[in-house]
Symmetry: D2
Subunit: 307 residues, 4 copies
């Protein structure tokens, strides 16, 4: 097993760009491609090497990262005569860090194997702050030996690299997490709204709940109520952070997975539906903690420019 030294990175969005920067910092030779020439230029300023096409970016590298919006995008990039399965070096390690359905991921992994490549799924938790700080959590699915091979690369971008199971397991873990975080976020806003309607101060109540059995990530690190924590989206007009429509996308994937597997996820399903209604009412691009706007008048008007 040889060390991986050259890396292609496809998908230079809010997550991809800082991830590339951290790879470069750690000494990896990174080639990038994105549909946006501007994004490529930014990556080049950070020390990566832009490529004129996806095929040029991936031709000679040891491994290829994808960080794309949807499963359809990932399938498009992997398949076909110009896709990764055909144009990468035989034996190349293909790592998908997008959040997509685990079924698609398993299928692509099998196709990769048949084509003489190796695929891992490695979605992340930690958001844009984690991407910038290099403190992401990677939930990795696939062959254990390959996971060990990619570990040094992932450690350049994250602080926790967890091998959660075979191919697809990374995505499953990610979907479980986002279903859970979405439900806990809404339940937290309900508790705050119920308290405030009865005269409690949201800050005092948040602190009591945080240290009691109601404690959760939203109360610990990501308060949906403005002004309680600095440096979270709620204290910045719900800008930045994790968009509500991305949260919805992930929760829908979880719901589909649950329906297919006949696992009853009643609370997760309802939470997903509430995020759909939230997005429909004008908050699609606001941080997902803006779901508090459905209960309390603290989250600004819908339809403002959240970017």
């Amino acid at each position: 097993m040889t060390a991986l030294s050259t890396i292609a990175f496809l998908g230079l969005g809010n997550m991809g760009l800082p991830m590339v920067r951290n790879l470069v910092k750690a000494g990896f030779a990174v080639r990038t491609y994105d549909l946006s020439a501007e994004a490529i230029a930014t990556a080049e300023r950070d020390g990566a090497r832009g490529a004129p096409s996806m095929q040029a970016a991936v031709a000679d590298v040891d491994c290829v990262f994808t960080m794309l919006p949807t499963g359809v995008d990932v399938e498009g990039v992997y398949r076909g005569p110009a896709g990764l399965l055909a144009t990468t070096r035989p034996g190349a390690l293909l790592v998908d860090s997008s959040t997509i359905s685990s079924a698609i991921s398993r299928t692509l992994a099998a196709e990769a194997l048949a084509a003489g490549r190796v695929m891992l799924d490695a979605p992340v938790s930690g958001g844009t702050p984690g991407a910038h700080a290099g403190t992401l959590t990677f939930m990795v699915g696939g062959d254990p030996a390959e996971v060990e091979r990619i570990r040094p690369v992932l450690e350049a971008m994250g602080k926790r690299i967890v091998h959660v199971g075979p191919n697809g397991a990374g995505h499953t873990a990610k979907l479980c997490n986002n279903m859970l975080s979405g439900a806990c976020m809404i339940a937290t806003t309900e508790a705050l709204a119920l308290g405030e309607a009865n005269g409690l101060d949201p800050q005092v109540l948040s602190e009591v709940l945080r240290t009691s059995s109601g404690g959760n990530y939203a109360l610990e690190k990501y308060s949906p109520y403005p002004g309680i924590m600095p440096n979270v989206p709620s204290s910045n007009g719900y800008k930045g952070g994790f968009r509500s429509d991305f949260q919805l996308k992930d929760m829908r994937l979880a719901k589909q997975l649950a329906a297919q597997m006949r696992v009853r996820t009643t609370i997760g399903d309802i939470a997903c539906d509430l995020f759909e209604l939230h997005c429909r009412s004008g908050y699609a691009k606001a941080d997902y903690s803006s779901i508090i706007a459905q209960l309390m008048t603290v989250a600004g008007d819908p339809g403002v420019d959240w970017s």
Copy 2:
């Protein structure tokens, strides 16, 4: 303002008994009464002084604690010619640590004031382990000066004493917390079930979720999945801990409060309903984390002896 030195404690159940023990340890003179002579005998062994009647217990003390199952019980003990409002020393401080409706609590506080007594609501979080260890959180509602007066007494039983607002606010905070913890517990079991159905190891998944945005009290300190944490009910056949029917009682109070105040607590309401169905299916006396039994086959049969 004089220090409080003599205390009556009414209600010697799983919570009341260890709380009395800690008061005695801290040097307070404690008189107790309970309908169970056996409970009084236990309290006496711990250094409290049993009384032949509630009236005898409360006649001369500075303050009276109540730790009773329901609001109806508390009303019964407070009101009437033999009740606390009539038989305690004028100026006595009445502290209710039961979890009851905040509306009842506010009404009793007003009646206490009219009768020349002072009432505080001070429900607790932390369960029987916290009661034994003296590490409870008290959520206190009432007059700030009176809260300061009771603080040294509460500190004998708990490590966090939070004044959350006026009378009733303690109960409101407690109901908000239990609604939230019930919802997060169920959402956690759903995430574990979805993961397991897709081949993930519950222990690995629990660890990933705990340190990601899905993190919450259930994953941190109270895993519903057997064998992941020692010393939690799930690793002890769901015995001990906090009974599902008590969890249901509190969630119903939260739901009623929300309905009265027209606060939409969709997730909390559904979680309450799921706990009702759980209790109906034979788990009323099992720890509330046994709700996992509705999704995974790890929680033993319904109807066993949970005591």
Copy 3:
């Protein structure tokens, strides 16, 4: 028992005005009062006698109808030195056709009895079309003999007069009905949306569902899908009919009642919450069948003038 011949009618809205018209047609002497002088003028054109004040309207009549928006309004009209309990003729029959909480209704009925008057609750089903056509259903709660006494009056306005139980029972039946109709309406829109998304024609599907086990009032008489039935709000831009915020008001009362009585109404509660979100998103004044707008793009934009 003497026949009732003089009637006062308070509350001349979309329901009250046509009800008065039908009373006049049937030969009753009707005196009316409303806060809107214009409404009184309309009632006068229909043959009723307007009064300069509520007290003047009710002073000498055999019975008084109230048709008011909320329980608070009804309490305000009944109580106090200028209220119905003080200013009507002793022995007068007070009939409340508003939809309010059954608890308030029971309390007012007891107060009426103590004040030497008799109260009945008689909320209606059938909407403005039924009010115009004189085909309302009255769900009447109260003393059976009094119900028989009011029956001829009610028959002037409705075709079904059902004595459902003691005081408050009329309101309870009405709340049960509106909780049920709201839930069935939403479930119907979900079925239509699921069918349409899979290529089914809504009209064909509606017809199949109507005559199968999914059949319900929405499919039979009140299609939420535009163009399937003439003369329903959905075919008239969701104008007229029964406002979404009124539907929400009734469903909230049902939810409160259920929470107080510890009856688990999971589906009804969620349906109520969905109506709240619907009203919040700009459809408060549109007919309640406009809830289809949350699922299909057939119900026009939110925020248009629905009056």
Copy 4:
């Protein structure tokens, strides 16, 4: 286009047997096969001709009906060297009256076409009473000309034959219907429980709701409350009728379809989940109206012999 005269019928359960009987009565030559020799014998007594194998039954007929429990069963019977697509006469008309996923149905229809056969989906509504009485509703999906060709055959078994769209549309309509009927049934039990808890007589309330905007199939023809209607399962210990686990199966298919198509069916999803919990609590084989047992103590104990 030639008339269909010889028919094979596969699947002789509670629905299949009476359907075969009606086909025979109408003059069709019917060959049958089932895994149960006893069922074949019963069909033979009704005038059908049993076959020693599925292949023997279908070899020479004009059309083949399948009435099987699940999509997996249907796939098994259609595919493979011994399956219908290989062993029926080229040009044979294959009609599936099972309730399965529309996606599977569409796939099989395409495979049939490729194999030179024609497939229609024709699930039914009306239950065992409708099957016996020959009054079923058929919801048919597929080529319009083929639907006309099969119409005379279906009319021997049903009174309403509705062509709802292309292949798969029949199943979609059926799933929409059962999702809707399940939701309305639960909402009806909630309304009855809320009324009864407030002192209303279930029979009186049922009658008021039936004729008001809450009216639906459950109140019209299939009361879940014992003793209100004769000849319905609730008046017969919840035996007969439509099993709760079959209702659950259909609602799960609807939920999966909705999740895949991203149609938000909040009420339908929750209703599905409540049926799952109902089945888990011992009522899987009781008629689906026994869901009332989750709210009222009228439905007998779980776990009795429902057959």
